[in-house]
């Protein structure tokens, strides 16, 4: 069946589904659904159970478009769920180019989970009414895994943490090599549900002083020869020496990094902190890798992280060398659009512009599998206030908290009697300040990122076959000229996949009971038909390992004897197959 036909059919089907209430109510110019069939509050963050519950509501509302499968279990036996968004009426998901979207590989980087739910919700709510959404959903599939690290997320929500803790998974690890695992992490000493900082007043012998205008803020006293010392020392995160080894907070929950677990340029823990004993060691990463390997139709990947305002691509490490030029063009086009769609985001190369990452997830999906992949660091703290007068750093954050959060994000310094340090003070920002947006900015972040995912997904390859041109050579021998084109930015095979022989080559075949294929190949000059790379063997089945490139037209010529009904077919792992039948 031809692609266009399928799309029409899908629209008919979609229109026949009864729509709750009046979909046209409200203001038609708004991007999000005007009168949503499933109401989800997009101004808050959700714990593990709620994320799945929202997606399950979407499945219940759109059972023909969204389905769920469990692909594995986490260390704490939480389900690892992939939700597949696909219109079965236009073909199986595995036959279409697919987009993989996940989030929250770092347990504390929670809003990736909401980002995945939002993207599913947006596509479903707008399917059938918005032309571009409908076309995208009909021609592609989305594999949506809201949480790579559900245990870490759950722990971050349910227990005392700060913005940076609970990044790891929860498999016990003896980080300090004393024979005990996870025995000395931070402690919520005052029982207020937050892990904040400890400071102690040590008049004249400290390293820090209080900011003159705002004593909540600690400033380091510059080293000087006049003997000026601070009155305070900072003692790190709230905690005690739980295991009596003379150190505090040295072996906390887990202590590894599931975004260093992936097979491409993987190095062990002593080279890349957190990598584990071998690639894909943890069950979460392993089941995700298996799913992705089993779905060679995945053409685009986005893995949401949470902080820094970055659109990241590999290489993760300098030693990989540069990406192939043609692939960089595709990356740049999408990444530069992203910078415009996502205020304060910068499009960056991981190793060069951020830091070196060995064994990162999007490094594997591109460097290992040839899939165009990005990681968005979703929260850009400049969004708090684009005004330069509200600087970054402690002052700006404190000002924002005072004026826009009514001080709710900060635990004021208060006294505590510490078993080792004696009289100290505990205080600082709570876990939901710094890496996640305040409630009133969440929806904007989710929407803009979903639009970037859609922009990325819209570039996935789409192959078509133009009307063949048949010419008589006499004696029943004919030439058949066909143009196979890819109307999209993304090639059917990335240059890296071609270079490293990843995945299956594209095939362009001709079939017909009445023809004998005498020769066939790819034309190399549009004006000189005799310039052709002939395929020596089995010319009816042309192998196109380099695929159909970005916006490329591939000219194919066969020389056949005979006639009748003939079918030409293009088979590609990362594009929906195209075929065209004709008679001559």
């Amino acid at each position: 069946m031809k692609l266009a036909m399928k799309t029409m059919l899908a629209l008919v089907l979609a229109a026949s589904v009864p729509v709750a209430q009046d979909a046209e109510a409200g203001f038609p110019g708004l991007g999000a659904a005007r009168n949503p069939r499933v109401e989800i509050a997009w101004n808050r963050l959700y714990d593990f159970e709620d994320i799945y519950a929202h997606l399950d509501r979407l499945v219940a509302e759109w059972p023909d478009l969204l389905s769920m499968q469990v692909i594995g279990h986490s260390v704490e036996n939480r389900e690892m769920r992939v939700y597949t968004l696909n219109n079965g009426a236009t073909g199986a998901d595995t036959e279409k180019p697919a987009f993989w979207l996940d989030g929250n590989v770092h347990g504390n980087e929670v809003q990736g989970g909401e980002g995945v739910v939002y993207c599913a919700w947006y596509l479903l709510e707008n399917y059938g009414t918005n032309e571009r959404v409908t076309e995208l959903v009909d021609r592609s599939a989305f594999y949506l895994l809201p949480m790579q690290n559900p245990d870490g997320r759950s722990n971050w929500f349910k227990h005392a943490h700060n913005a940076h803790s609970s990044r790891s998974g929860v498999m016990p690890l003896d980080r300090d090599l004393d024979g005990l695992a996870d025995e000395d992490g931070p402690d919520d000493l005052d029982g207020d549900g937050s892990i904040v900082q400890m400071r102690k007043y040590v008049p004249g012998t400290g390293t820090h002083r209080l900011n003159r205008d705002d004593p909540r803020i600690m400033e380091r006293v510059p080293t000087n020869e006049r003997g000026i010392r601070g009155d305070w020392i900072l003692l790190g995160s709230e905690g005690i020496d739980n295991d009596g080894d003379g150190r505090i907070n040295e072996d906390s929950l887990g202590g590894y990094d599931m975004n260093r677990a992936w097979p491409s340029l993987w190095f062990p823990d002593h080279v890349q902190f957190g990598a584990g004993p071998y690639p894909l060691y943890w069950p979460e990463a392993r089941c995700i890798a298996r799913f992705i390997l089993d779905h060679p139709n995945i053409a685009g990947v986005q893995s949401y992280h949470n902080s820094g305002g970055m659109i990241l691509r590999g290489p993760g490490a300098e030693v990989f060398g540069p990406y192939p030029r043609a692939d960089v063009s595709v990356y740049d086009a999408i990444g530069q659009d992203g910078e415009k769609m996502l205020p304060f985001y910068r499009y960056m190369i991981i190793w060069k512009d951020l830091y070196s990452v060995f064994g990162g997830f999007v490094n594997w999906t591109y460097e290992g599998l040839g899939i165009f992949s990005f990681t968005n660091e979703m929260w850009a703290s400049n969004r708090n206030s684009p005004d330069d007068r509200v600087e970054g750093g402690s002052e700006g954050r404190q000002w924002f908290d005072d004026h826009l959060l009514m001080g709710a994000g900060f635990v004021d310094w208060h006294e505590y009697d510490h078993p080792l340090y004696g009289k100290i003070e505990i205080g600082g920002f709570k876990k939901d300040v710094g890496r996640v947006p305040p409630s009133f900015l969440i929806e904007e972040m989710l929407h803009r990122n979903a639009m970037f995912v859609i922009r990325h997904a819209e570039t996935m390859p789409s192959v078509s076959i133009a009307e063949p041109v048949v010419a008589e050579l006499g004696d029943g021998v004919r030439t058949i000229d066909v143009i196979v084109s890819n109307e999209k930015l993304m090639p059917t095979r990335s240059s890296l996949a071609v270079r490293d022989e990843l995945g299956a080559p594209d095939l362009i075949t001709i079939e017909g009971d009445g023809i004998e294929v005498l020769a066939g190949g790819f034309r190399t000059d549009r004006f000189r038909p005799e310039r052709i790379d002939l395929q020596d063997h089995d010319p009816a089945r042309l192998i196109r390992d380099e695929g159909v490139g970005s916006l490329e037209e591939v000219r194919v010529r066969w020389i056949v004897r005979g006639g009748g009904s003939v079918t030409i077919r293009v088979t590609s792992e990362k594009a929906q197959d195209a075929s065209r039948s004709f008679e001559f």
Binding site: P263, P277, A504
Partner: protein, 586 residues
């Protein structure tokens, strides 16, 4: 190094003479019979032997581990692991490992040195780490299998594993085909026409033959045996030096179930202190590549090699190995993605790799077939290496047949002919090939290069057994000595203790100090209620403790009553544990 302690001396005296149980024939090494034999050792010696499962292969065969130990609490003693047959064709090595295990189990009751070893050590035997590939040895037709799973599209035609080698002429073995072809790159070795060597146009040589694996052209692309099924090799599927995007390396490290099972097994044995591998790699005969302990990373990647401090120990162990076993067989020098490399590079475990036998490359001495069959090929190999490095001969433009030096394969044939091992080379036999027409099929038979002659088996096994059972003395073992308390004044005590390691290997190899995969020894001062620490840490982690009598000293000041009990404890996962009361010093 290995100071001949009484334990070691006794071992040599008794075992060499007494206990050899003859190794069976190859058929006794099939997966089924090997499993039976392992089970028999376990059931006949329930006091020391137990059978464990490492994992299950891709095709569903059990990977088994036999454990021998007479210790009451095995976790309190260092463990030694012997693994073999990661590479499919080396099934003989499985037999040697089984033989080692059987001999130790048999001798436990009667032999003092064996009892001393097993009562202080846990010894693990994994004779067949890659059972699927090994089955190629027992299949018909006989074919060398290295890979065990996943088909890669080697010829990029969109089909996987559709055109592999096969027994085309039905002679029961899969060998090589040669076809007369003016474009062929191969010519006959002037010293032995059975052997083909690559023609060198620079020397005016012309090719005459084309060579193919014995195969049909099943996909009709006029290439032969170019896309075999099963590409991933277990012993290329480990994470250290893993070759991404190379078919033999597999989809990702540990994707092969055998590789992952071995990793998990190694990680589960927290008391593991030494690994020995009998297979195709070697670091005992040929000195492995080493790097400085503190070699600077290049673009953040540390240069790979055995760290210098460890290499020095390895060299000494290798010297002892060669002296005892007389073995000079070398490996292929390529260790990317191997189990042995992962054990050392990523787990820090001292790992000894030995190639038990290689096809010799000189004629056996007329009167000493058995000796020659042992595979003493070191000198000749060096000579061959020197040949390669030397510039092309300049004195004669035309190399007459009598002057020509035999190629490596021709040298192998000298031995094969002399030893009467004719099964190892299949004479070129004409065959009418369905696609190629007139061809000749023959060449080196499967397993010709890796399997020693039957009459050499016992000798190889004997020599390695004697070496192997001495390895217990290498394993680090910590002891607390000189644990004392001295009264400095009323209620003030100085407590001192010394930790020693009398074994050959250090407590942690240099690599392990880096990988942090085995925890250091923990020395703790045990304080009674009412005592307070005046100086020192109640816990000290000891990373750097040399072997051969390495010492580390500790000191504390304690305040407490005269009659209090003070003690020091030390514990580790892989070198033992101890507690010692601090006695009042005189």
């Amino acid at each position: 190094m290995l100071i001949p302690t009484p334990m070691f001396g006794v071992a040599l005296a008794t075992l060499v003479s007494a206990t050899s149980a003859p190794l069976g024939d190859v058929e006794s090494l099939s997966h089924a019979r090997l499993s039976e034999a392992l089970a028999a050792v376990a059931s006949e010696h329930p006091d020391v032997a137990s059978l464990h499962r490492v994992g299950v292969s891709r095709e569903g065969r059990a990977i088994e581990a036999l454990r021998l130990t007479g210790t009451e609490d095995p976790s309190n003693h260092p463990a030694l692991l012997l693994v073999a047959n990661l590479e499919g064709p080396r099934v003989f090595e499985s037999g040697v490992v089984l033989d080692h295990a059987r001999r130790l189990a048999n001798a436990y009751e009667s032999d003092e040195s064996v009892r001393a070893l097993l009562d202080t050590t846990v010894v693990w035997f994994v004779p067949r780490a890659n059972p699927d590939a090994a089955e190629g040895r027992f299949a018909s037709p006989s074919i060398e299998r290295w890979a065990s799973s996943i088909d890669v599209d080697n010829d990029r035609d969109g089909r996987r594993g559709e055109d592999g080698p096969a027994d085309v002429n039905g002679d029961g073995v899969v060998t090589t085909m040669r076809v007369l072809d003016p474009e062929g790159e191969w010519m006959e070795d002037p010293t032995d026409a059975r052997v083909l060597i690559q023609a060198d146009r620079v020397k005016g040589e012309r090719g005459k033959w084309r060579l193919y694996p014995e195969s049909r052209d099943l996909d009709g692309d006029e290439t032969f045996g170019e896309d075999a099924p099963r590409d991933a090799q277990v012993d290329r599927n480990f994470a250290s030096g893993w070759e991404e995007h190379v078919a033999r390396a597999g989809t990702f490290p540990t994707d092969e179930p055998e590789a992952r099972a071995l990793c998990e097994f190694v990680m589960a044995q927290k008391n593991l202190a030494l690994v020995v591998v009998y297979d195709g790699h070697d670091n005992l005969v040929e000195k492995p590549k080493s790097v400085a302990d503190d070699a600077a990373p290049v673009k953040r990647v540390p240069p790979y090699g055995v760290l210098e401090s460890d290499a020095e120990l390895l060299e000494e162990i290798g010297r002892e190995y060669r002296e005892q076993t007389k073995n000079e067989a070398k490996g292929d020098g390529e260790d990317a993605g191997t189990f042995a490399r992962w054990c050392y590079d990523h787990r820090g475990l001292v790992t000894l790799s030995a190639v038990l036998w290689n096809l010799p490359d000189e004629a056996p001495a007329a009167d000493e077939d058995a000796d020659a069959a042992e595979g003493d090929d070191g000198a000749v190999t060096e000579e061959a290496a020197a040949d390669e490095a030397a510039p092309a001969e300049e004195e004669d433009d035309e190399v007459s047949e009598s002057d020509a030096k035999p190629s490596d394969d021709a040298k192998h044939l000298l031995w094969i002919d002399g030893a009467g091992e004719s099964w190892r080379f299949v004479d070129w036999t004409p065959f009418d090939h369905p696609e190629l027409g007139s061809v000749e099929i023959g060449g080196f038979a499967p397993f010709a290069r890796s399997e020693p002659p039957q009459d050499a088996w016992t000798k190889i096994a004997d020599a390695h057994f004697d070496w192997f059972q001495g390895l217990g003395e290498l394993l680090p073992r910590i002891e607390l000595v000189e644990c004392e308390r001295e009264k400095l004044g009323t209620g003030v005590w100085k407590v001192t203790a010394t930790l020693t390691n009398d074994a050959y290997l250090p407590l942690l190899s240099r690599s392990m100090q880096r990988t942090r995969t085995t925890r250091p020894a923990k020395v703790s001062l045990v304080l009674p209620d009412g005592a307070t620490l005046l100086s020192g840490n109640t816990q000290e982690l000891v990373r750097d403790l040399a072997g051969s009598g390495g010492r580390a000293e500790f000191e504390w000041l304690v305040h407490g009553p005269d009659g209090m009990e003070l003690g020091v404890s030390v514990d580790s996962d892989h070198a033992g544990r101890a507690f010692r009361k601090a006695e009042v010093s005189q």
